[in-house]
Each structure stands twice: as structure tokens, then as C-alpha cells.
Amino acid sequence: MRVSAALPTGVAALLFESARRRRDAEDRLVVHLREAGYAEVILPILDYVEPYDSLLTTASRGELYRFVDRDGELLALRADFTPMLARLLAPRLESLPLPLRLYYRGDVVRYQEERAGRAREFYQLGAELLGLPGEAAEREVLRLFLELATAVGGGSLQVVLGFAGALDQLLLAADAANPAALAAAVARRERSAVRRACPALLAVVENGVPERPEDLGPEAAGRLRGLLALRDELAASFPQALLTIDLAEFACNSLDPRMSEGAAEGERSYYDGVVFHAYAGPAALPVGGGGRYDRLFKALGAEIPAVGFAISLERLLEARP
């Protein structure tokens, strides 16, 4: 009998050269992470669904591979490392020496409509820095991300920076009835819808930042100034990467509960501070991203500052010249 070698949609086997290429890259990154003082955590591929119930959006719930175990428990395949790590650490934080520097690697599985470039199983390598407050943690994590991504990806790395909730005040003032829809239009850079609703947002759509930081409101203006300084500092250290601030890119990543209705198509929306996406080569799918996610721990009952990132290693390798 002939056995078919076909695989289900969205998964791939790496054979020979492609396997070697990924393991080589992975090895180099792991050496780098260890040297930077990060310790590995190995997480299970199966977990209960229930602890994540309050964290899931309609979109992220739809991506889960869920099933009922023989004992009747509802389980899911791992779709994201960060919440799993947060849930496992939250009850133990008081007994752990802070700050914690952790990294993980492995596959995540998410149901995606069949589309080119959208695998259902993909490999992630990421790092989390827990318990170091303020901008120091954001600087360290962004630096580490840039070091890793430029080490493997070669040239043409673009990092787009923003922060969660940056446009909330403008969005709510412009369209109190449906700010989430306006946020989606800003994220898609739809000029006429944005112009009609709020001229100040138009500058954000065109240039990524408002004409004056104060347009965002006093608190967000301060954060924007801080981010501009951090961007300049990182750009000087990583001249081979293009670092831009584009608040429109993260318009849907809000902090205001009034905007959570219909929020974020598939966006993992636990970020509540600095947030970033990285692109490499021409493709429009990010090769990595991350940010601050204190509120994820808060939702799990722990108060701790947390910043981290994940790299999609296969996409990054694909972009290598």
C-alpha cells in the first residue's frame, strides 16, 4: 500500500537542509540569550482552557485548537507562550528572586484561514523580563530583540514602535459611539474616514505621530516623548535596522474598556505599554513583536512589571537575503 506524504493544511515538516538551517539559527539565538542572563523555561503543549477564559478575545478563542480530554476537561493546544508562562508564575512570584529573565522556544498552534504565509503551527522563540520596573526593562528587551533579530535576519529589519492606548483619548473624543471602528480605520490608514472624524488623527495616519505630542493628551504626550528618545538611542546603536514610531499601527491596542468591543482582529491585546512589530524583507507579516504586558499578570492576580517579545524564526529566516 502506498502511504500519502501529504500533511494537514498549515503545517510543515522541515527536512534536512531546512531543519539544519533552523536549528543553527536557534542555537545561535539561545547562546546569545544565555549570555544575556536569560534562563530557559520548557512549557507543556497542552493546557486547560479555563484559566485563560477572561483573557481570550473572540478572535483568539477562534484560533484555539480545543478538545475535551478523556476525563472531561476542556484542553487546548498551546497557542501563545506568554499567558501560559504568566499563569504558571503568578502564584509563585513572591518566592522567586526578581527580576526574572526567562526565554522559551517551541511550537504554537493557531487555527488560521488558509492563506499564504499563515501557518497553523509555527515555531516561536521569545524572552520575558519580569520584575524590573520602568523604561529600563523596555530598553533591555528592545535591545535584546534587536540583537537577536539582526544576528539572524541580516539586513532590512524594520521595527515599528508604539504604545498601547496612545490614541485612546483622540479616538474617544472623535467617535464616542464607536471608537473601535474608528481605531480599525486608523490602523488601515483609511484617510477619508479618519479625516471626517478627527483631523488630529490624520497626522498620525500620515506620519505615525501627531503634529504635537500634546494632541494625544498630557499622559500619552509624555509617553511619546519618552519613546522618541528611546527610539533615537536604539537607532544609534542599531544603524542596520530601520526604527520608526507609528502609533496608527497599534490604534486597536487600546487601554480603555469602552473600546474593547469588537477590538483587534486577532491581535493579542494584553499589551499595555510599549508595543512593537518587526518586519524583515518585503513580507507584510511581522517576524516578531512584543511589548509591556503588566495587565496580563494583574488579570492573573499578580502585580509585577513584565516586558517580553517573541520571534517567528521561520519567517525571519525566510527574509534572510
Binding site: R189, Y279, A284
Partner: protein
């Protein structure tokens, strides 16, 4: 150098005219001809000629930085693209059509023929009637005329084809416009040029 993808077929003229009006003459481009790629070094532009349905994929993968494609196609094959402006020319409607001028009665089950199965599924999900979606690749009106399906979801431009075949436009589902779409990564890289183009298209009043 920026790479612009233009669609073959009905949206091509609208796209070329809009760029011409904006002072960006894409001279010599005949996207309905046999050539696949043109270089316009003076403008710093390369033009790709693609079928509508393939265009979002090329832009999504960054093979083209930007392109012009109908919102009907975009709704169907969402590739997470940026959509800064929509052209005023070349607009049409996505409509439910059929021989019977009334929508199906609540609780009934019909067949619906379309080139847009995803859009159709989303549409039917919000209705009181149900439909089996039949995906066809062309001559959608014929499916309704010959009663392969009670309903068809298709583009209506002038309505002439409908009238000739005794079909009725029962309900307009969406306005359809050729859209400028941009790859997310390209938008960061070519922001100045794209903003310049968009500004000129807006000044020429050929987009909204």
C-alpha cells in the same frame, strides 16, 4: 524604486486615469497587453500587471509594495493590507440579484451563486433565511437565469445585463470601489513617496 501592481480588466482604466490626473503619468503601461512588468525610471516606479484576485497576495507578500484592487476582492481575500484611499472612478455595487424581486421569506433555504463565498457567508449569517453558497468563477447572472440558484451575489455596474436577462437587483449589499492598497512593511519604508502620491490623488479629487 517602488513597485505598483495594477489590475487587469475593469479597474485598470480607472487606475491609470486617476494617476494621470494626479500628475503621475504611468505612460506606456498597457496592463491588458502581454507584458508583465514595466520600468518607469523617471518616476522611480516599477509596474506589475496582475489579475485582481492575485493582487492582494502579491502586495501582502511585498512582491509589490502597493496596488489598485477592487474592494469586492479585498473583502473576500483580506490580506491585512492598508487601504489609504478609494478611487472615485470605476465604482460599482455588490448586490443580491434574482428573478424574483423579493428576498427569501424568513425561515426559507435557498441557493446563492457567487464569486464571493466568504462575503456571501458573512451576509447570510445575519439574515433570517439560509442559503447554500455555490462558488462560481464567472457568468453569475446565468446561474440565476437558469435557476441553478435563486439568488446571486455579484457586481452590478450599469444594470444593463440584469435588465436584458429579466433579473432584478434585489438589494445593494456594498458599494464597491477600486482601492489603493499598501503593504504594511512598505508603508514604513516608502512613507514619503506614498504620502506624496496620496496627497496628489486627493488634490486631483480622484479619490475619497
Amino acid at each position: 524604486m517602488i513597485r505598483l501592481a495594477l489590475p487587469k480588466g475593469r479597474n485598470l482604466e480607472a487606475a491609470l486615469a486617476a494617476f494621470r490626473a494626479a500628475g503621475i503619468p504611468l505612460d506606456g503601461v498597457d496592463a491588458n497587453g502581454r507584458s508583465l512588468l514595466w520600468r518607469l525610471p523617471d518616476l522611480g516606479v516599477e509596474i506589475l500587471s496582475l489579475k485582481d484576485w492575485d493582487l492582494p497576495l502579491y502586495v501582502g507578500h511585498g512582491i509589490a509594495d502597493c496596488g489598485i484592487v477592487g474592494s469586492d476582492v479585498l473583502e473576500e481575500v483580506d490580506g491585512d493590507l492598508l487601504v489609504p484611499v478609494r478611487l472615485l472612478a470605476g465604482r460599482s455595487r455588490l448586490s443580491l440579484i434574482g428573478l424574483d424581486p423579493a428576498l427569501p421569506a424568513p425561515g426559507t433555504q435557498v441557493r446563492l451563486a457567487t464569486k464571493y463565498p466568504q462575503t456571501a457567508r458573512r451576509l447570510v449569517a445575519g439574515r433570517t433565511w439560509g442559503a447554500e453558497i455555490l462558488k462560481l468563477s464567472g457568468s453569475i447572472e446565468l446561474a440565476a437565469v437558469l435557476r441553478l440558484a435563486e439568488l446571486a451575489l455579484d457586481i452590478v455596474q450599469t444594470g444593463r445585463t440584469l435588465a436584458e436577462n429579466h433579473l432584478v437587483e434585489i438589494e445593494t449589499v456594498a458599494e464597491v470601489a477600486p482601492c489603493l492598497v499598501v503593504n504594511r512593511a512598505s508603508y514604513q519604508r516608502h512613507r514619503a513617496l506614498l504620502n506624496d502620491w496620496i496627497g496628489r490623488l486627493e488634490a486631483a479629487e480622484v479619490v475619497s
